[in-house]
């Protein structure tokens, strides 16, 4: 009803601004750093997986773009249970290496 047009809020600009900001946040990450993010993700995951059993989804990387410089934020989620087993892992890996060495020398 045209009669009630005046009831409609006219300030659509804040909506535009908010939509643009969230969209561009996403697109900047996608476009500017797509290769870098993929490479970093793969390599960081490999390093962590050497010590702690970790899933692909548990390592998150994002870039916060600033005017002068940007922040690369790496977020690694490790379940407490894995942390507890991590030292055992490292220990057992060393023991295994020692055993391998011993076997090699004994030959």
């Amino acid at each position: 009803m045209r009669l009630f047009r005046f009831l409609r809020p006219v300030s659509s600009a804040p909506v535009a601004r908010q939509r643009l900001q969230s969209l561009l946040d996403y697109e900047r990450r996608l476009v500017t750093h797509s290769d870098l993010i993929a490479v970093l993700h793969e390599e960081i995951l490999a390093v962590i997986a050497r010590h702690v059993p970790v899933d692909q989804d548990q390592v998150q990387i994002r870039v916060d773009r600033g005017t002068e410089s940007s922040n690369v934020v790496v977020d690694v989620e490790i379940p407490n249970a894995s942390l507890a087993t991590a030292s055992f892992w490292v220990h057992s890996a060393r023991t295994q290496a020692f055993a391998d060495d011993a076997r090699r020398w004994s030959r």
Partner: protein, 271 residues
């Protein structure tokens, strides 16, 4: 040695050609030698906006391919003797532009002029990337509207990665030029305002060109608005922007068209 400036936007119809002509003429007005170069091969328009459409003999492609000399293709403006136009070809397409060819033309223009203003085609393909390729600075033209701001952001990304300057690890200087700005609608929050756009795009502001019928009038008459409507609001805004481009500090005000009593009483349409 000239400063090479690319006028770009990603989105079409936001005012790249109008702004190239207006800034070029404003810079030439101060006595400096200016060349405006149309990179929109196949869809040239800088010639018609500047009123030189009937004087085009040779064009950018001829010079790039060596079938004409630069001096033969340059058209001197009839009103400002320090202003020159290098038109694009209308019959060819963007594939006729080669990177080496463009590099040579720009290098030659650098020696002869104080300013080389390159009018980029819309889009992010060959024409647009070659227009920005050898630039020292960029003017990003945006309208206070979501699609234009989004495309400008994409162009800023390309300026920072695909230009020669960026590849050499140098910083590309970028300026934001907001065109078709409506002060009243922005004030009532119907339209994105200057702060919104500046904060989203994060590049410094070169100027704010108010929406005005003088811009259409100037293009109808075939003259940059800084030549034919010199006292109009958009013209004054372009003169300020040109001074800022040249390094001057000028207060950021949005000029308004002066309204006579008759227009105030009866509105513009009545006249």
């Amino acid at each position: 040695m000239a400063k090479v400036v690319v006028v770009t936007s990603g989105k079409g119809g936001v005012g790249k050609t109008t702004s190239t002509a207006a800034l070029g003429a404003a810079l030439a007005r101060s006595g400096q030698n200016v060349a405006v170069v149309d990179f929109d091969v196949g869809l040239r328009n800088l010639d018609i906006v500047m009123g030189a459409e009937r004087r085009v003999v040779f064009d950018l492609i001829n010079v790039v391919q060596g079938t004409a000399k630069l001096a033969q293709a340059l058209i001197r403006d009839k009103r400002l003797e320090t202003l020159y136009l290098l038109p694009a070809s209308q019959t060819r397409d963007k594939d006729a532009l080669t990177e080496d060819g463009v590099a040579e033309v720009i290098a030659e223009l650098r020696v002869r002029f104080d300013w080389v203003v390159c009018d980029s085609p819309a889009g992010i393909e060959r024409g647009a990337t070659l227009a920005m390729r050898f630039a020292d600075e960029a003017v990003v033209v945006a309208n206070p509207e979501v699609s234009s701001v989004r495309d400008s952001d994409r162009i800023i990304g390309l300026l920072d990665s695909k230009t020669l300057k960026a590849e050499l690890g140098e910083r590309m200087t970028k300026h934001l030029l907001i065109t078709r700005f409506d002060v009243a609608r922005a004030a009532s929050r119907e339209m994105l305002n200057i702060v919104d756009i500046k904060e989203i795009l994060e590049i410094p502001l070169l100027g704010i060109i108010p929406e005005s019928e003088e811009v259409l009038r100037a293009s109808n008459l075939g003259a940059p608005v800084t030549i034919c409507g010199r006292d109009s609001a958009p013209s004054r805004a372009y003169f300020d922007a040109a001074r800022r481009l040249a390094g001057e500090t000028v207060d950021m005000v949005i000029p308004a068209d002066k309204e006579g009593l008759f227009t105030k009483l009866f509105g513009r349409r009545a006249a």
